[in-house]
């Protein structure tokens, strides 16, 4: 534990603000968020709708550029990177899992997992791709297309794809939102065990206290500001904290 805290943080948010101009007026989605995510940590981000959770995730992943403030991922200031350099960093250091529609419908499970390496111009090592699929329990479904897989299986293929490049950070947006409770729990246990065994850093946006209870700590967001922090909370404690926020 002490070595983990001494290592430089995997992700740094430094006064990140994001506002959108629209015809109806200015919307401040984030109003200055500062936080450092330690390497090997699993953090859940919670908050009411419109609190800025998704904007925070997108800024942290370089999918959206902050209006002000800095974002560092694996030591790189995302604001200084070109679109191409950002794409390379995303390809090499980040993985993504979202609620649904994670997979390219035209490709088999195997090809979906092999895609990031192929896009990087590398020949994906067959055994590594197969191993990633085996680890998520899909060794026999490699040749199936997304349409032939259940929702939980699709999520597991997405996790295998997120992990196969050995990224430092994985971003997850409501990864269990479209799954039933049992399947959702299996997916979360998979994420948890990967964090524990491989020292991965995971940032997960969720509104489900049970999902959040798998994380090391929970950040609470309201009106674009960090308003609370809970370490090692149970689902009940997290739900209580959320209720407090929404009051």
């Amino acid at each position: 534990m002490s070595t983990a805290t001494l290592a430089p943080p995997a992700i740094v948010l430094d006064g990140v603000a994001r506002s959108y101009g629209s015809r109806a007026g200015r919307v401040d989605a984030l109003r200055g968020v500062t936080h450092a995510f330690a390497p090997g940590s699993f953090t859940a981000i919670m908050g009411p709708s419109g609190s800025g959770k998704s904007t925070l995730l997108q800024c942290a992943a370089g999918l959206d550029r902050p209006t002000s403030g800095r974002v560092l991922v694996a030591g790189h200031d995302l604001g200084l990177l070109s679109e191409a350099a950002l794409t390379r960093l995303r390809r090499d250091a980040m993985g993504f899992v979202f609620q649904a529609y994670n997979l390219l419908p035209a490709l088999t499970a195997y090809d979906n997992v092999a895609l990031p390496a192929r896009l990087a111009g590398r020949r994906p090592p067959r055994d590594e791709v197969a191993a990633a699929l085996t680890r998520v329990g899909l060794d026999t479904q490699q040749r199936r297309r997304p349409a032939e897989l259940s929702g939980g299986q699709q999520q597991r293929v997405a996790i295998a794809r997120a992990l196969v490049t050995r990224p430092q950070v994985v971003y997850a947006d409501e990864p269990t939102g479209a799954l039933d409770r049992t399947t959702g729990r299996q997916v979360l246990e998979l994420v948890r065990s990967t964090v524990d065994t491989e020292g991965l850093t995971v940032v997960m946006v969720t509104h489900d206290p049970v999902a959040a209870s798998y994380a090391d700590s929970v950040l609470f967001l309201a009106d674009g500001l960090l308003v609370g922090h809970l370490a090692r909370g149970t689902a009940t404690q997290i739900a209580a904290a959320m209720n407090e926020l929404e009051r």
Partner: protein, 622 residues
């Protein structure tokens, strides 16, 4: 195999339905072009009528190619919009914009290659069918054997691939601009913004068209006619480029009174909000209405112009046709028979012409030949005169020394001594002294312009010649009407040949856009149903959307047609006293009705069809 190519192949397989329209458009275009080229190669050089028919077929194939670019551009544009989320995902897992762009181009190439091969195979059948048709119409003496030469097929297939790549170009650029964050959002591309390049191309096209319109107003009649055929294409491309900005605005303004209506108001909002879809739907309607409308009116005005010239110039009160023997009666004063001989100009600007031997004094008296420049009385010995519009094609003018080759094999240098005003009905474009023409095989063509002898009036001459019984004796009015009818019938055949395939393309494009649109909007329809709309209301909404877009496009098309027609009218009547005005309303209305019918049918069929479809399976996919 690079990732983009592998992905492109898999993607075409997966999204077959999205590319069906492109496939059909390219295959059909290649089949038409291949058929025409094969036939041209097979028949070779076989006289003026065959050449005219082949060049008409060539124009038809050209129009088909132009429309194919449209269809491919619209289907690929659509496919990109429909797959925004998927493309965002691709960017998210590490594809660079370049890789996304390349993937879309690979997809276009795969579709185009498959379509081109299919089209080339069909092209052989088209050539065989055309050969049978030409023989049946008596244009070729017997059925021409179609060559087994593969080069024409390869060339046509290549054209098809180029056309498809041109069509997919803009779509691939747009695909590359999809941000990775799109993977996290619902696909809600209103697409009302247009790219800089698209804006520039659109503006250039419109500016070019404006210049040409000025040219039509100012230029001479023949130049004006040619411009009037090219202007609509430019205007259409320009308007389609600006479509996402322009069309929603136009529809909003036109349908403002409907905004409170529950179903029509929703349809109006949908049209305004989905600028891309609106443009995809409007483009073919606009293209067919503007291009076909202008072409129909231009050809009709050209026939009017011809008739005006004939009325102005024809001095003979009686015309006798269909006889090779000169009509003879004491009442005949001056008689002027037409004849023809083919000749070829040699050298760089070598061309085939039909020439006519005339006696200038007689022709001026009977047919009112007007000299534009030079001196027609010098048309003796080794000289020639040409009509004003022919100077355009010929590459020589007044005072030129032209080497010509007669069918009897002799080469003669001729000096151009006069340029005469156009009168296509009354004489050929190349005029020779009678003696020179006769010496090289000019044959009477069977039409005789007759002036009465002094003291005899036109009616007496007419009666006398009828009694004499040679040929078909007509008054000048009757003859003009007959020639005019023949010309308009010929125009009609040409119009059907050119507009048939073009209309077919427009139909494919409209049906494709609406079908894709409906598939893509399943969930939206479900939501509309859930908030309380009946199935019939959803159908009416889709129908109203299509009708609004088609209506706006037809209005723009009509405006283009009217502008071209108004400007064209001036040079076509200048200097003439009596030019009839013929607006072929039936043809114009038929075009509008066809556009409306295709749009309505294509709008309703998919919605009805979707009703009997399990929508749960659809929601599982994007």
């Amino acid at each position: 195999m690079p990732a983009t190519i592998r992905l492109g192949l898999a993607s075409v397989r997966e999204h077959r339905a999205l590319y069906a329209g492109s496939f059909v458009a390219v295959a059909l275009g290649v089949a038409l072009i291949a058929g025409v080229v094969l036939l041209t190669v097979s028949i070779g050089d076989q006289g003026a009528e065959v050449q005219d028919t082949l060049s008409l077929l060539g124009v038809m194939a050209g129009f088909a190619g132009f429309m194919a670019i449209f269809v491919v551009a619209s289907t690929f544009g659509f496919a990109v919009t429909a797959r925004r989320r998927e493309l965002g995902l691709l960017r998210l897992v590490g594809a660079t914009p370049r890789q996304v762009r390349r993937q879309v181009r690979v997809e276009a190439l795969v579709v185009a290659a498959l379509a081109a091969v299919t089209g080339a195979a069909l092209g052989r059948l088209v050539a065989l069918a055309l050969a049978v048709l030409l023989a049946a119409q008596g244009i070729t003496p017997d059925r021409a054997p179609v060559t087994w030469d593969l080069r024409p097929l390869a060339i046509s297939a290549g054209c098809g691939v180029v056309v498809a790549m041109l069509g997919a170009w803009a779509a691939s650029r747009r695909a590359a601009k999809v941000p990775p964050a799109q993977a996290l959002r619902e696909a809600t591309d209103t697409g009302r913004r247009i790219g800089v390049l698209r804006g520039v191309v659109g503006t250039l096209c419109l500016a070019g068209a404006a210049l040409m319109l000025v040219g039509i107003r100012a230029g001479d009649p023949v130049l004006a006619l040619m411009l009037s055929i090219f202007v609509p294409e430019l205007v259409v491309v320009g308007l389609v480029c600006w479509g996402p900005v322009l069309l929603p605005l136009l529809v909003r303004v036109l349908t403002a009174p409907l905004r409170e209506h529950p179903v029509l108001g929703l349809a109006r909002a949908n049209v305004g909000n989905q600028a891309r879809r609106t443009t995809s739907l409007a483009a073919p309607v606009l293209a067919i209405s503007a291009i076909a409308g202008s072409l129909i009116l231009s050809l009709s005005f050209a026939a009017d112009w011809d008739q005006g010239i004939t009325r102005q110039q024809l001095a003979a009160p009686v015309v006798v046709t269909d006889t090779l023997r000169a009509p003879n009666a004491p009442e005949v004063g001056v008689i002027d028979g037409t004849n023809a001989v083919s000749l070829a100009t040699t050298g760089e600007a070598g061309m085939d012409w039909t020439a006519e031997g005339i006696d200038p004094a007689t022709a001026v008296a009977t047919r009112g030949l007007r000299t534009h420049r030079g001196d027609l009385t010098r048309l003796t010995g080794r000289t020639m005169a040409i009509s004003r519009s022919a100077v355009f094609d010929a590459g020589f003018g007044l005072g030129s020394q032209v080497r010509v080759l007669f069918p009897d094999g002799t080469r003669v240098p001729l000096r151009v001594v006069a340029i005469v005003e156009d009168a296509a009905t009354l004489h050929e474009d190349v005029l020779l002294p009678t003696r020179l023409a006769r010496a090289h095989g000019a044959k009477p063509t069977g039409t005789w312009f007759v002036l009465p002898a002094p003291g005899v009036d036109a009616a007496e001459l007419h009666t006398a010649l009828r009694d004499e019984g040679t040929g078909d004796v007509l008054t000048a009015e009757q003859w003009i009407a007959r020639v005019d009818r023949a010309q308009r019938d010929q125009n009609q055949v040409g119009l059907i040949a050119i507009l048939g395939p073009t209309g077919l393309y427009a139909g494919i494009a409209i049906a494709n856009t609406l079908l894709m649109g409906s598939l893509q909007r399943r969930r939206e329809f479900t939501v509309t149903r859930l908030v309380g709309a009946t199935a019939a209301q959803v159908r009416r909404m889709v129908l109203a959307e299509s009708a609004m877009v088609a209506g706006a496009a037809l209005l723009l098309g009509s405006a283009v047609t009217a502008t071209v027609a108004l400007l064209l009218r001036a040079p076509m009547t200048a200097g003439l006293d009596d030019v009839p005005l013929t607006v072929p309303w039936a043809s114009l209305l038929a075009i509008a009705a066809a556009c409306a019918t295709v749009t309505v049918v294509a709008a309703v069929v998919p919605v009805v069809w979707l009703r009997g479809h399990p929508s749960a399976a659809a929601d599982h996919q994007q």
